[in-house]
């Protein structure tokens, strides 16, 4: 898998819920705990809004790993965590079909003070990327990914 893409720095996208992971990330900051700077955290109300195509598209754009830090059972939105898990599972299927390592996508329940689990997720994803390399510059054709229902 190691390609010329190796010259660029890896990028990990983190979708973190405002009621969970995003605050967990802030808590890690308040404790001034170091982690790898290749991590880009975007706040989300609930991760259930992202269809499979979103993840696929992100990989195509050169995101090497994605961690969805949702609120799990602490979610204020009824039904949303289950939906998120469902979509992620379907995305795994699609990734397998297309030969993209499923370790690039992780779903983790992170609470507002889950500093250690937060750091662990980031460390693990970086270890995975060290092992399997960056996302290839050209992914298998994503025909369905564009318009497929999530």
């Amino acid at each position: 898998m190691k390609t010329n893409a190796q010259t660029r720095a890896p990028k990990i996208l983190i979708l973190a819920t405002l009621s969970g992971g995003y605050r967990g990330a802030d808590a890690a900051g308040q404790s001034q705990l170091e982690y790898a700077p290749d991590t880009y955290i975007l706040p989300v109300m609930s991760a259930a809004m992202f269809p499979e195509s979103f993840y696929w598209r992100a990989f195509e754009r050169g995101v090497d790993g994605i961690i969805v830090m949702y609120s799990g059972t602490d979610s204020p939105y009824k039904g949303a965590p289950e939906k998120t898990a469902e979509i992620i599972n379907r995305t795994y299927e699609r990734m397998k079909e297309r030969g993209l390592d499923t370790q690039r996508l992780r779903l983790a329940a992170i609470c507002t003070v889950c500093v250690r689990p937060f750091l662990k997720e980031i460390r693990q994803m970086n270890e995975v990327l060290d092992e399997i390399g960056l996302v290839p510059s050209s992914l298998p054709p994503a025909r369905e990914a564009q318009a497929e229902p999530g």
Binding site: A9, Y35, S46, F50, V63, Y77, K78, E148, P149
Partner: protein, 697 residues
């Protein structure tokens, strides 16, 4: 079916006006990088960050400053809005939870819609966690903020969802919780309609004699509360009434109510003769079936309303009572009538019913000497079947056993399940203190009676409750303790015995001795079950929990709200509660309704789903997956003469969970303020070969 050719979605009350796909004005973005003293500045090169971002399209101003949150910092932003025509603002500073509101308020002061602001936490999520690699931290700051700029380009002004709210609340249930909630809301200035299913106010409290922890007379307590309610001009009460249909949402519910006629006019005088003439006799539910009553009856003296009423279910229309009915004082041909009211919110206070043991549980239904605690209360009541004397079937009681946890703390496989297959695995909370209160009362009035108290755990938890336990011990009440796995074995009569025996209690207080108690009355401290509210659950789309009590949104944080905004719970409808707890819950429920309605309008966050009518194909996927009730539905529209289905969001019922967004095959639905397009643009910015980075890192 509105004909909307070209403009498919009608802007009805409570709906969001769709914004045009791209706002007319060209985005003019102001970018501000805060040093936070050294906190960001020591690691992230803020000047370089600002400089790099200045090169991005649509960015008209890009600055860094030592403290953006300070007054001079905020002034930089407001001045740029006023003087440079900045119409989108992106700030990179400390956590959004600390200062997002500060900056939203600042842009608002400068005349910009507060939702045209985006906040990036550079301190907690960049400089404080990447001390050791300042170059990467600076690149990260630039990328994160360029993602913010990408989002800012797409941001649109948002308005909170504003709903007109009727300053009128409905209370369902006229027991202590309902009365208390009605009183609180009326005193606050809301108009209140209270409906009570039976023909009398006061609920279960009226059937009690003596209430803990004050040892008050329940009737007096109730009279005081009802008097206050009746004195409130804001309250309208309908007895014999129930809700049959409801639609709408917070601020604007339309409620259909059906009221049963009383059949007897208020000024009817020959009450006693009419009752005497009635040939029907049915078990009197007020005495928990210990006595009977007629089909024309009043539950007790001094009840409110004071008049008698006809029990339509049991009345045979024999017309014997009509003999005494001058001028139509009694009308057997009265029909129920229905009417509609419009309320902004409602309080469900439908209360509880005592657990009814199945035939044979501890001898109940087999031996007349086995009764329930509510029945004992009626026996002890001065207006009860024995006039307050402790006697049963004509015999004075000498030995009495009280058994706790009957119908509570049940174990699957051990106890007989309810018709729905569940056992009552919960604690009923009120029975321990109520039992000991009754025991002490008996000890006081009938000192010769031996009392055995058979329990698993004594739960006299409340303020003043433990005193009943202490007093009971001092009163020489004999305690026997069983363990859950070895519940007392039923009551049986032995050959030649005049009286039943409470058989086999393995008492763990006396070294596991097995004891048989010769008793002449066994009192089962039965648990609490919710009043049957299946109809309301359907009408209001609220849910019962596993224990069949009505379910709150969050048992800790929002203990009186239901999943439906504008419908709140009070009292034992939600779970076992005593009078004090019911009144507190009612106050909390009233408070929530007052918060919603007292301003005459409800404001909800604008983060709700919004359909793009151009893209919607009416597949109904969103409707199918939506976890909220009535948040989205399909409507038929006529577009250029053709009938089409389109999804329509009811913002009042949408919480913005986004489940519909991922489900839509046509990308026709989004959560306002958090759109999928925004996120894709942000990912693009995070991964792009941004020219802004050249020569910087």
């Amino acid at each position: 079916m509105p004909d909307t050719t070209g403009e498919p979605v009608p802007a009805e009350k409570g709906q969001v006006q769709p914004q045009s796909a791209s706002p007319d004005e060209e985005p003019r973005i102001g970018v501000y990088v805060c040093h936070c003293g050294d906190n960001i500045g020591d690691v992230v090169d803020c000047e370089q960050t600002a400089e790099a971002l200045g090169k991005l399209g649509n960015v008209v101003v890009s600055r860094s400053y030592i403290f953006m949150c300070s007054d001079p910092g905020q002034k930089l932003i407001t001045d740029d809005i006023k003087e440079k025509g900045v119409n989108r603002v992106v700030v990179g500073a400390c956590s959004m939870f600390l200062h997002e509101q500060t900056f939203r308020q600042a842009v608002s002061r400068a005349g910009l819609n507060p939702y045209l602001y985006y906040h990036i936490g550079l301190r907690e999520q960049d400089s404080w966690v990447h001390h050791e690699c300042p170059e990467e931290a600076t690149e990260k700051a630039i990328r994160l903020m360029s993602a913010g700029v990408a989002k800012a380009r797409l941001m649109r002004p948002l308005e909170p969802v504003r709903l007109e709210a009727a300053k009128h609340a409905l209370v369902i249930g006229g027991g202590v919780a309902g009365l208390r909630a009605a009183l609180d809301m009326a005193r606050r200035g809301l108009k209140v309609t209270l409906v009570e299913k039976t023909h009398f106010l006061g609920g279960r409290t009226a059937q009690w004699e003596h209430v803990f922890p004050t040892d008050e007379d329940a009737r007096t307590l109730l009279r005081g509360l009802i008097e206050k309610v009746l004195a409130e001009p804001n309250i309208t009460i309908h007895t014999g009434a129930e809700v049959v249909a409801a639609k709408g949402y917070v601020g604007d519910f339309q409620i259909r109510i059906r009221q049963q006629p009383r059949g007897v006019s208020d000024d009817f005088e020959a009450v006693e003769q009419a009752i005497a003439a009635c040939p029907v006799e049915v078990p009197d539910e007020f005495d928990y079936g210990l006595t009977t009553r007629k089909a024309i009856y009043r539950p007790y003296e001094e009840c409110t309303p004071a008049g008698v009423v006809i029990d339509w279910e049991h009345c045979t229309r024999c017309e014997k009572c009509l003999e005494f009915s001058n001028n139509g004082g009694i009308r057997l041909d009265d029909a129920p009538h229905e009417f509609e009211i419009n309320v902004g919110a409602m309080v469900v206070a439908t209360g509880f019913r005592p657990y009814e043991p199945p035939q044979g549980e501890l001898g109940y239904g087999e031996f007349p000497e086995v009764i329930t605690l509510p029945q004992l209360e009626r026996i002890l009541a001065s207006d009860g079947p024995t006039g307050g004397r402790l006697e049963w079937n004509g015999h004075p009681i000498r030995n009495l056993a009280m058994i706790h946890c009957v119908g509570s703390r049940q174990i699957e496989g051990v106890h007989k399940p309810q018709p729905d297959g569940n056992v009552n695995d919960y604690c009923s909370r009120v029975c321990c203190t109520a039992t000991l209160s009754a025991a002490n009362q008996i000890r006081e009035y009938f000192p010769d009676v031996n009392i055995f108290d058979v329990y698993e755990d004594i739960r006299t938890y409340g303020r003043g409750h433990e005193d009943y336990y202490l007093q009971a011990s001092e009163n020489r009440i004999t305690f026997l303790r069983y363990v859950a796995e070895e519940t007392p074995e039923g009551v049986k009569a032995q050959k030649g015995d005049q009286q039943p025996r409470l058989g086999r209690v393995k008492d763990h207080l006396t070294w596991g001795e097995e004891i048989e108690l010769p008793v002449d009355l066994v009192v089962l401290a039965v648990g609490v079950m919710p009043s049957p509210v299946d109809d309301l659950v359907v009408v209001f789309k609220i849910s019962p929990g596993h224990d069949r009590f009505l379910l709150e949104v969050h048992p800790k944080l929002r203990p009186v709200e239901t999943a439906v905004t504008g419908i709140v719970l009070a009292g034992a409808a939600q779970g076992p509660m005593n009078i004090q707890e019911s009144c507190a819950a009612a106050g909390a429920a009233a408070s929530k309704v007052e918060g919603l309605l007292s301003q005459g309008r409800v404001e909800l966050e604008p983060y709700v789903a919004q359909v793009d009518p151009e893209r919607c194909q009416g597949t109904g996927e969103c409707v199918r997956v939506c976890p909220q009730e009535d948040a989205i539905h399909l409507e038929t529209f006529s577009v250029s003469g053709r009938e089409v289905q389109r999804a329509v969001v009811t913002p009042a019922n949408c919480n913005g969970c986004g489940v519909c967004v991922s489900a839509c095959p046509n990308r026709a639905i989004d959560v306002q303020g958090w759109r999928l397009d925004d996120y894709e643009a942000m990912v693009d910015a995070l991964t792009a070969e941004i020219p802004a980075l050249e020569g910087v890192v």
